[in-house]
């Protein structure tokens, strides 16, 4: 499929779409005008698609500097009567949460959907927080799709609901929904174009305390009405009616439940909750009155489970509630069909049948295959130089606060340059703390996109509070880990138009940093010298390593020379041990070789070989 088909497909056509792609189609069918995001897996492909089609679709799309800004861009568009869509990974919503709380108070004119892509089992995240709590914290309606078709349909429904109640909607997906592909039957794209106009109404849009008190009352009234709406919603639906056990489930957990129930013909009733907040109390009550026992199947936290227990308590029902809290199902990580089958069988008192087709296990212990920095990655060269500089200066116990991006992979040997990480931008803020708490040397790493996202306020903090550390800004000219989206440091924006390039160097300078050096990381000698100077500098020192990510640089083009290991090699292993580049390997005959397919000709290995045994093939 060509990505453009997400825009051009006609009503009734079937497309094989990723959940994230289906979200874009749903937004187009709903007639959005503005979309904004900061890239984060598992939500990244939504932005990738929008960035490709926004011009043709005649909508505005941007990669904002961070999720809070993204939410604010969309909120203002909705206040101006346009339909807006902002989306982010689960931890991104933490960043946006300050404004999230307020936009729910003030409400919207044009419909607004905020999509949070949660990551149970942490495929690409630092935690597996359950953002269904945000619906409860902010008091806003929540929709939870289970597959790409539902993602698309709920986008359309969500915008209607948002406008009907003048409140933003929180759509929650998980990795297995965002990254699930399925057949989606599409509707027509809404081509009606709205004109944004902001009508002033300070009693609604400016939550000073006196106004906010009124707003909160209005919000509570809205939620009361929405509770009725959720209770009457056909989105909360009975799927399987058999036996005396009631299973209540949502999201991708619903898929597992249906597959194991149907394949094993289990005697259970299944209630799927899709319009999940306000929690549809009467729907639940009606369902549980007809069953003897209840099993709650949800990812990740026992959120609905506690709500169901509250309903059981409120109506003094004698119903046992099984789930995560009584150990029927595991408390953390994502589910699988096997886990669900075992859980249901436990409650039904059936022995899980592992007979007929035994799972095959190998007796061998297999070597792992962890992800790594790519061949030719400029980060590898920086880590090598930092290590060399530290050893040249005979330093010990240097602390390496790190940040979120490909360079987090620097925690692996041989670099081991990642000691402390909390969140986006935390490398700089925590360095301030280490600087005050210890006498140790501190060398901190942050990427270009992450610096724009959350690195600037803590840098100002560091200068103002006279902290001492080295901040290495790894400017690889892209947002690499999420797939190469542009950031404010590049001369292009999310629409694909030319854009002013924001200079990291000048921001650092304006923050009051006196030691600022820009290095080409592939020049090891100079890099080491600069890093040594930075470490010895009395005060904040910033080193900007500027070299493009190998995945974007000369995409498809290869330099027309080959780097090889020559006969002078004495097998000292220096390149393997200290560089650990995936292109360098030990062959079956124990000689060291460079794979010309993998090698990106960065020439770092040539510079580090003590025997000068690596060079360009003549």
């Amino acid at each position: 499929m060509n990505m453009k088909e997400i825009l051009t497909a006609q009503k009734g056509e079937n497309l094989f779409l990723l959940g994230n792609e289906a979200a874009v189609r749903g937004a187009l069918e709903a007639g959005i005008s503005v979309a904004s995001t900061y890239p984060g897996t598992p939500s990244s492909e939504i932005g990738d698609v929008l960035s490709r089609i926004a011009k043709d679709a005649d909508i505005y799309f941007e990669f904002s500097t961070n999720e809070k800004v993204a939410l604010e861009v969309s909120a203002a568009a909705s206040a101006s009567g346009l339909r807006s869509f902002t989306f982010m990974k689960h931890v991104g919503l933490n960043v946006a949460s300050d404004s999230l709380m307020s936009v729910v108070y003030s409400g919207v004119n044009g419909g607004m959907i905020i999509l949070s892509a949660d990551d149970p089992s942490m495929f690409s995240s630092q935690n597996e927080q359950d953002n269904r709590y945000y619906a409860r914290l902010a008091n806003m309606p929540m929709l939870e799709p289970s597959n790409p078709q539902e993602v698309k349909d709920l986008m359309k429904y969500g915008f209607q609901l948002s406008e009907e109640f003048q409140i933003p909607i929180l759509m929650r997906t998980t990795t297995r929904v965002s990254h699930m592909r399925g057949i989606v039957e599409v509707d027509s794209v809404n081509e009606e174009k709205r004109k944004g106009f902001f009508k002033k109404d300070p009693l609604r849009f400016v939550p000073v305390p006196e106004v906010a008190r009124n707003m909160h009352q209005k919000l509570v009234d809205k939620i009361k009405k929405l509770e009725l709406k959720a209770d009457q919603s056909s989105l909360n639906k009975l799927f399987h009616k058999k036996g005396d056990l009631g299973v209540i489930t949502s999201g991708s957990a619903f898929n597992y439940v249906m597959d194991v129930v149907e394949e094993n013909d289990l005697p259970v009733n299944v209630l799927k909750i899709t319009f999940s907040y306000p929690f549809p109390e009467n729907t639940i009550l009606e369902f549980i009155r007809d069953v003897d026992e209840i099993l709650m199947v949800e990812e990740v936290d026992p959120v609905m489970e506690k709500d169901v227990m509250a309903i059981v308590g409120k109506y003094s029902l004698k119903k046992k509630v099984h789930g995560k809290l009584n150990g029927t199902l595991p408390l953390i990580y994502e589910f699988s069909p096997d886990i669900i089958l075992e859980g249901i069988n436990k409650v039904l008192g059936i022995k899980t049948n592992k007979k007929i087709k035994k799972s095959r296990k190998t007796e061998l212990t297999l070597p792992k295959r962890p992800p790594t920095l790519c061949p030719g990655c400029p980060h590898r060269a920086v880590y090598y130089s930092v290590k060399k500089a530290i050893s040249n200066l005979n330093l010990e116990n240097v602390i390496f606060p790190t940040d979120i991006g490909c360079y987090t992979l620097g925690i692996e040997p041989p670099y081991e340059a990642g000691d402390y990480l909390l969140s986006m931008g935390s490398s700089v803020g925590t360095s301030c703390g280490f600087s005050k708490a210890t006498q140790q040397n501190i060398i901190s790493f942050i990427g270009d996109s992450t610096f724009f996202h959350a690195g600037i306020p803590p840098l100002i903090n560091a200068v103002h509070n006279k902290d001492q550390f080295v901040l290495v800004i790894l400017d690889n000219r892209t947002t690499a880990m999420t797939g190469g989206q542009p950031n404010p440091g590049l001369p292009v924006d999310g629409m694909g138009y030319e854009a002013p390039e924001i200079s990291i160097e000048r921001i650092v300078e304006a923050a009051g940093v006196k030691f600022i050096e820009i290095i080409n990381p592939l020049n090891l000698k100079k890099s080491q010298r600069v890093i040594e100077q930075a470490i010895q500098y009395p005060g904040m020192a910033v080193v900007i390593s500027k070299y493009p990510c190998m995945l974007i640089k000369n995409k498809g083009k290869k330099k027309n020379f080959i780097i090889e290991v020559k006969d002078d090699c004495n097998n000292c292993n220096n390149c393997l041990d200290e560089l650990s580049c995936p292109a360098i390997y030990r062959a079956d005959d124990y000689t060291i070789q460079i794979d010309p397919q993998l090698c990106r000709r960065c020439s770092v290995c040539i510079q580090i070989c003590p025997e000068k045994a690596i060079g360009v093939k003549k």
């Binding site: 492909e45 495929f123 095959r360 992800p371 880990m481």
Partner: protein, 196 residues
């Protein structure tokens, strides 16, 4: 009716997701139901990549332990790592050319001998189709056509539910025109080798 379950595994950069999309779209064009799961992000930096497809009646694309009808492995070590997904009735199609983990020199456990891997796969499955997909891809015109060699191999497995004709149509929709000839050749060669 039970779905036909396809588990595909290998290493980032081998074109596994593209192959899976081609399969899924071909199944859709045949009028079949299909769901698929893929993992993006951190896994792609030289790590393990796997996708799961179910063709037929299914809500979830996740294949329970031992329930894969076919394991399609783009890399032999990854075939063995995924062996928990198959049973004695399953077919295995594997590439025999290894891609070493970047840290293999520092690894406590060595990369197993290819013959050992193939023996294990053979003993745990109904039938093993082993092919040197990298060699075949090179002979077809480009090493990157490896994934279409594997797709061709899968298409030759008895009972594989997606017709060759639809797979090729779907290849046309999903691959750049200039490399289509090489890819079709790679597909045919993979199919031929596994049909013997």
């Amino acid at each position: 009716m039970k779905p036909y379950n396809i588990y595909i595994s290998g290493v980032g950069g081998q074109g596994i997701i593209k192959t899976s999309i081609i399969m899924g779209e071909a199944a859709m064009k045949m009028g079949k139901q299909v769901v698929m799961s893929e993992i993006h992000g951190m896994a792609q930096r030289g790590g393990v990549v796997s996708t799961e497809l179910k063709i037929g009646q299914a809500q979830s694309p996740i294949i329970p332990e031992s329930k894969a009808n076919i394991l399609l492995a783009f890399e032999p070590l990854e075939a063995l790592r995924a062996v928990g997904k198959i049973n004695e009735e399953s077919y295995v199609v594997t590439n025999t050319s290894p891609t070493m983990p970047f840290n293999i020199n520092a690894s406590k456990y060595p990369y197993p001998e290819i013959s050992v891997i193939l023996e294990e796969l053979e003993s745990k499955s109904r039938k093993l189709f082993a092919l040197d997909a990298i060699q075949i891809a090179k002979e077809s015109g480009h090493i990157l056509s490896l994934n279409m060699v594997m797709l061709g191999g899968a298409a030759a497995v008895p009972g594989f539910p997606v017709d060759k004709k639809y797979l090729k149509e779907s290849m046309k929709d999903n691959l750049p025109e200039k490399s289509l000839k090489i890819n079709l050749k790679a597909f045919d060669e993979g199919f031929r080798v596994c049909s013997i």
